[in-house]
């Protein structure tokens, strides 16, 4: 069971690196989407017995994170007809290195942190930390709104991963609410990206610097 989880987490971490390394926006979106699906699959796996609530949550997550948001972003992408992330403020190689370094650091940190015995072996903590870091790198280092949204999503995925530590402790209602919020939030962001694309007809956030001081 734990191995399966670890496998998935490892996959998610790999996807982080892809998102960091690739300059093509569709690739980033795809990586983010796949990661969403992967994360969506986890809760049912962790549950020993079938629980329709969990399944529902998982389905919703997979649907929204894996398909709705990516679709929305794809649409904005087509409308703005841009393909590549041009001149990122943190280059791809550096961000890749950052991500890799961050992953290793996360591993090391997870050893230091006082964890419960049953979590000691799991990749959840390092995975979540690595994803959070990746999210930040994307948010800071990319100039296209879309890649920043992806970064934000990956950040939240990381937090989601950490949340899985508590899945038994916290009541499902809360989990569900949190998930709902996240998804709605991302959804709203997607809408705003769409609006910005119309207002500025570009997704280059370096153009969004009218408001200052």
């Amino acid at each position: 069971m734990t191995n399966a989880i670890n496998l998935l987490v490892g996959l998610a971490m790999g996807l982080n690196l892809i998102a960091l390394g690739s300059g093509r926006l569709p690739a980033i979106i795809r990586a983010m989407a796949v990661q969403g699906v992967v994360l969506g699959l986890m809760p049912p796996l962790m549950e020993t017995h079938f629980d329709w609530m969990v399944t529902l949550v998982a389905v919703v997550t997979v649907a929204v994170k894996g398909f709705v948001i990516p679709g929305l972003l794809q649409r904005a992408l087509r409308a703005a007809n841009i393909e590549r992330e041009v001149e990122p403020s943190i280059g791809f190689v550096p961000s890749l290195l950052l991500g890799a370094g961050g992953t290793i650091a996360a591993m090391a940190l997870a050893r230091v942190l006082p964890l419960l015995p049953e979590h000691a072996g799991s990749l959840l903590v390092p995975g979540s930390l690595a994803s959070v870091l990746t999210g930040f790198v994307l948010l800071i280092g990319r100039s296209k709104a879309i890649s920043q949204v992806c970064g934000y999503l990956i950040l939240e995925n990381g937090i989601y991963l950490f949340g899985l530590l508590l899945i038994r402790a916290t009541p499902l209602l809360v989990e569900a609410g949190i998930l709902l919020d996240l998804t709605v939030g991302v959804f709203v962001i997607g809408i705003i990206v769409d609006r910005i694309q119309r207002a500025f007809d570009s997704l280059d956030t370096r153009k969004l610097t009218v408001l200052r001081e």
Partner: protein, 642 residues
């Protein structure tokens, strides 16, 4: 209570019913004056507690001799400037701002009365702030005028600095004593350091020399009745605070020396700045700095005496200072009213553009001259009585010897210098403005001002003369107030033969008038032959040949050039037939321009640097977020593991 009521209603009805308002204000003034007189004469404090709580603190008003002194001044000058404003800032002249002016005037006077009565730190602060703000709105009554706005803002900013010092002061006081109640707490020596905060806060309001930066422009640009109120009364509130809390709190050992030093410096430099001003009202404003200095010298002497064996001479100096509070308040308001009439009649405050006004406005000229004599502290008027008492205190201190002598003797010399400079200043001010020939068309077309204007001036002048000629009526009052400062066995009254002085003053006054009349009669016995001024042979002296105020003060100005930093731009005449030549002098606000401005510049540069961080780049905003996170983490890491 009646006074409060009238003023409160004045705030409400003031804007609409001008006449009723004046009636109310004057009634209030009379009532307040009565209350003060009762307390001063009767010697029993008036105390009033009420269950009604404002801001969680029960109302508690106390009127003792000390606050009664100031209350009387507030009443007199407040009432006078209310009447004066009727003619000076009339509804016809200023339809939109006159009503506002009435409201704020009432509010300001009310707030000052509140400050004087409050015996609760919280209420004191409330009154203090209200008084400051209403004064701001009075200064900027003429909203269209850029100078007035700038001056008002400077005033507000400076006052706020002072207020925040008082925030800290009262906050600490309340924190240390555990309650907002004010009152004598001399035995609690832990409170001594607080005096520095009080000094800072009240000195700004009082316009003590280094902290006077706001004063000249505010007093010069305000409407004249407001200038009178601010210069005559408002700055006395700062004095009140100092006197009050130097009496109620224990003071640190160094405080008396600092106070007397500040006083001496203010006295000399203040009047030095006044001497070189070309703006009549600015000159008067700087003169206020000088007089505040004189008062502080008296207070400092009293504090010195109190900390060195409590010799009676300190009380003498303090009593003199308190009397000087009155004298300066009356005379300075009179002078500002006079300056207001001049401004009203000619439309300019520049001394160099005036001259020869006595012909057009004899009443104003006479009253202004009287005010000048009073403010110079010349016998037989009130100014002399006050300064004489201060001198007596200082001399007794010097003769008593001991360490205080090293403080009071230099102070006495400083006072003498300041007195002589004041004389020069006011000879210049009154003579250049009112005597000789009109220098410009403005001065030529001047006209005498109406009874609303000279009425209050006459009243104030009468008071100046009364205090000067019958000081023995007022002496017991101030003596009692000085006694209320810090209770002490010593009685001050016998220390100074005020009655004799009063007698001398009366005789002198009689002889002055007599001799003048006699000589006048002698001169006019056979008709004097009128002729143009014999200007050493110039056939037709032109007004431009008259000695200007600038050159009049020139000699003494050179002695203080280190402080005045006068900037001259000289354009010398060239060639045999020079076409043009000019010599422009500008007196900078030294402290403001050489000290405050650079500091402000630094702060503004820092602000600009910080504001550049808000550049609109989202990526960096998230960097800031991460940085904040990291910073907090670091902090916790350092604090967290013991």
């Amino acid at each position: 209570m009646l006074a409060g009521g009238c003023l409160a209603t004045g705030v409400v009805v003031g804007p609409r019913l001008a006449r009723t308002w004046i009636g109310l204000t004057v009634t209030a003034a009379v009532a307040a004056l009565g209350a003060a007189a009762v307390v001063l004469a009767g010697g029993t404090d008036w105390e009033w507690r009420s269950g009604f709580a404002v801001a969680g603190e029960p109302l508690h008003a106390r009127l003792d001799a000390m606050s009664a002194i100031f209350l009387a001044l507030v009443a007199v000058v407040g009432g006078a400037s209310a009447v004066y404003s009727r003619g000076y800032w009339s509804d016809e002249g200023y339809p939109d701002s006159a009503p506002r002016g009435r409201r704020w005037l009432s509010a300001m006077v009310l707030a000052m009365v509140w400050v004087l009565l409050a015996s609760n730190g919280l209420h004191f602060l409330i009154g203090w702030e209200l008084f400051t703000v209403s004064a701001y709105f009075l200064v900027t009554l003429d909203r269209g005028e850029r100078d007035a706005r700038a001056a008002g803002w400077l005033y507000l900013a400076a006052s706020h600095l002072g207020t925040l010092c008082l925030f800290a002061f009262f906050g600490l006081l309340a924190a240390r004593t555990g309650s907002w109640e004010l009152g004598p707490m001399r035995e609690n020596t832990a409170l001594a350091p607080l005096f520095w905060l009080a000094l800072a806060g009240f000195a700004v309001k009082g316009g003590v020399f280094p902290a006077h930066v706001w004063l000249p422009s505010a007093h010069a640009n305000a409407p004249s009745h407001v200038s009178a109120l601010m210069s005559g009364v408002a700055i006395k509130m700062g004095i009140y605070g100092l006197v009050r809390f130097s009496g109620w709190l224990p003071v640190p050992a160094a405080a008396p020396w600092v106070v007397i030093g500040l006083g001496a410096v203010s006295a000399v430099l203040g009047i030095a700045f006044a001497l070189v001003q070309n703006d009549l009202k600015r000159l008067l404003a700087y003169c206020s700095v000088e007089n505040v200095g004189i008062i502080l010298v008296g207070l400092g002497a009293a504090m010195l005496a109190a900390t060195h064996g409590d010799g009676p001479w300190g009380r003498l100096a303090l009593a003199g200072a308190l009397l000087h509070v009155w004298n300066h308040g009356l005379a300075k308001s009179l002078l500002f009213f006079g300056a207001g009439s001049v401004l009203h009649a000619t439309g300019t405050r520049e001394i160099t553009r005036l001259g020869g006004l006595w012909r057009a406005m004899p009443r104003t000229a006479g009253l202004f001259a009287l005010g000048a004599v009073a403010i110079c502290g010349l016998p037989p008027l009130n100014g002399f009585v006050g300064e004489w008492l201060v001198y007596l205190g200082l001399f007794d201190g010097a003769t008593a010897g001991g360490r205080p002598a090293w403080g009071v003797a230099p102070a006495a010399i400083a006072l003498a210098t300041a007195g002589a400079l004041a004389l020069a200043t006011f000879v210049k001010a009154s003579a250049v403005v009112f005597l000789g020939a009109p220098r410009t068309k403005l001065a030529m077309d001047a006209h005498e001002s109406g009874p609303w204007l000279w009425g209050p001036m006459l009243a104030l002048a009468g008071l100046c003369a009364t205090i000067g000629l019958a000081p023995f009526f007022f002496w017991p009052l101030v003596a009692r107030a000085a006694g209320a400062w810090r209770p002490s066995a010593m009685a001050v009254e016998p220390l100074a033969p005020v009655a004799t002085l009063g007698l001398a003053n009366v005789v002198l006054a009689l002889f002055f008038v007599g001799a003048a009349a006699w000589l006048w009669r002698r001169v006019h016995a056979e008709g004097p032959r009128p002729a143009p001024t014999w200007d050493c042979g110039y056939a037709a002296p032109t007004p431009r040949m008259q000695y200007t105020g600038g050159s009049f003060g020139g000699i003494a100005a050179t002695w203080f050039s280190w402080a005045l930093q006068i900037e001259r731009t000289v354009h010398r005449p060239r060639g045999p037939f020079p076409v043009s030549a000019s010599r422009v002098e500008r007196v900078p606000e030294s402290v403001l321009e050489w000290v405050v401005a650079p500091v402000a510049g630094l702060v503004m540069r820092a602000s600009a640097a910080v504001r550049r961080l808000q550049h609109g780049r989202l990526q960096f905003y998230i960097v800031y977020l991460v940085a904040g996170l990291a910073g907090l983490g670091l902090l916790v890491l350092l604090e967290g593991n013991p």
